[in-house]
């Protein structure tokens, strides 16, 4: 079974702190994605990557950056956390069929910024 593992299920951070969310997949998928999920807003794409060291902005990249140094790992970075970044963050991966393939999601990281 494909497994996408997110490093932290729950985090509490203070405004201005730097936050790292880690995601690892074990099925050699080319594509990886970071979404945030908020009530009433659905899943919104933050960043995605289709290859090592490649990254593309999604719909809401402001305030975030990403790193993909190895194929299996895709990190989301909040340089200076703000309260409006309190959310559920979901990582996903897929095979490189363009972007039509099934997305495999992690269990999510719920971030609270105080």
């Amino acid at each position: 079974d494909v497994k996408v593992t997110q490093s932290s299920r729950y985090l509490v951070k203070r405004t201005g702190e730097k936050v790292f969310l880690e995601c690892v997949q074990d099925m050699d998928h080319e594509n990886m994605f970071w979404y945030r999920q908020d009530p009433g807003l659905g899943l919104r794409l933050i960043y995605f990557s289709y290859d090592v060291k490649m990254k593309e902005k999604g719909d809401i990249p402001e305030g975030y950056s990403v790193s993909r140094e190895k194929k299996e790992r895709f990190s989301l970075i909040l340089e200076s956390a703000s309260t409006n970044q309190t959310s559920m963050y979901l990582c996903a991966s897929s095979l490189a069929q363009g972007f039509t393939g099934e997305l495999f999601f992690g269990e999510g990281s719920r971030l609270t910024v105080l």
Binding site: V4, F33, Y35, G40, L41, G42, L43, R44, L45, F48, G58, L90, A92, Q97, G98, F99, T100, E102, L103, F105, G106, E107, G108
Partner: protein, 112 residues
């Protein structure tokens, strides 16, 4: 602008009832996926529909892709409490050269 509109947003029904949720757009999609997300978990793919007019069945769930590939529906027959969750549709545009776009979801609660 929300490319995929899902309705209803919330649905609470009794065990054994039938229901339909909708996913509509003014855009054409090359394929459309349905996911279910249970509390505390990430979404899991239920089905992918590719051809206009296509109907797929997954036990008590029936998925249909509109003829013009702009809309889709999910029908559940004799709902069970285990069907409770958030149902998300996601569409692929530009022949799959851009990431999926998601609807906001339909939150279903099936009461025993």
């Amino acid at each position: 602008t929300q490319l995929l509109e899902q309705s209803p947003q919330f649905l609470s029904i009794q065990e054994g009832e039938n229901l339909t949720v909708y996913c509509n757009s003014s855009s054409v999609f090359s394929s459309l996926q349905w996911y279910r997300q249970e509390p505390g978990e990430g979404p899991v793919l239920l089905v992918t529909v590719v051809t206009g007019g296509e109907v797929k069945k997954l036990k008590r769930l029936t998925f249909q892709f509109g003829d013009a590939r702009k809309d889709s529906s999910l029908h559940i027959t004799a709902a069970q409490p285990g069907d409770t969750g958030l149902y998300l549709c996601a569409g692929s545009r530009n022949s799959g050269n851009t990431p999926l776009v998601f609807g906001k979801g339909t939150r279903l609660s099936v009461i025993a």
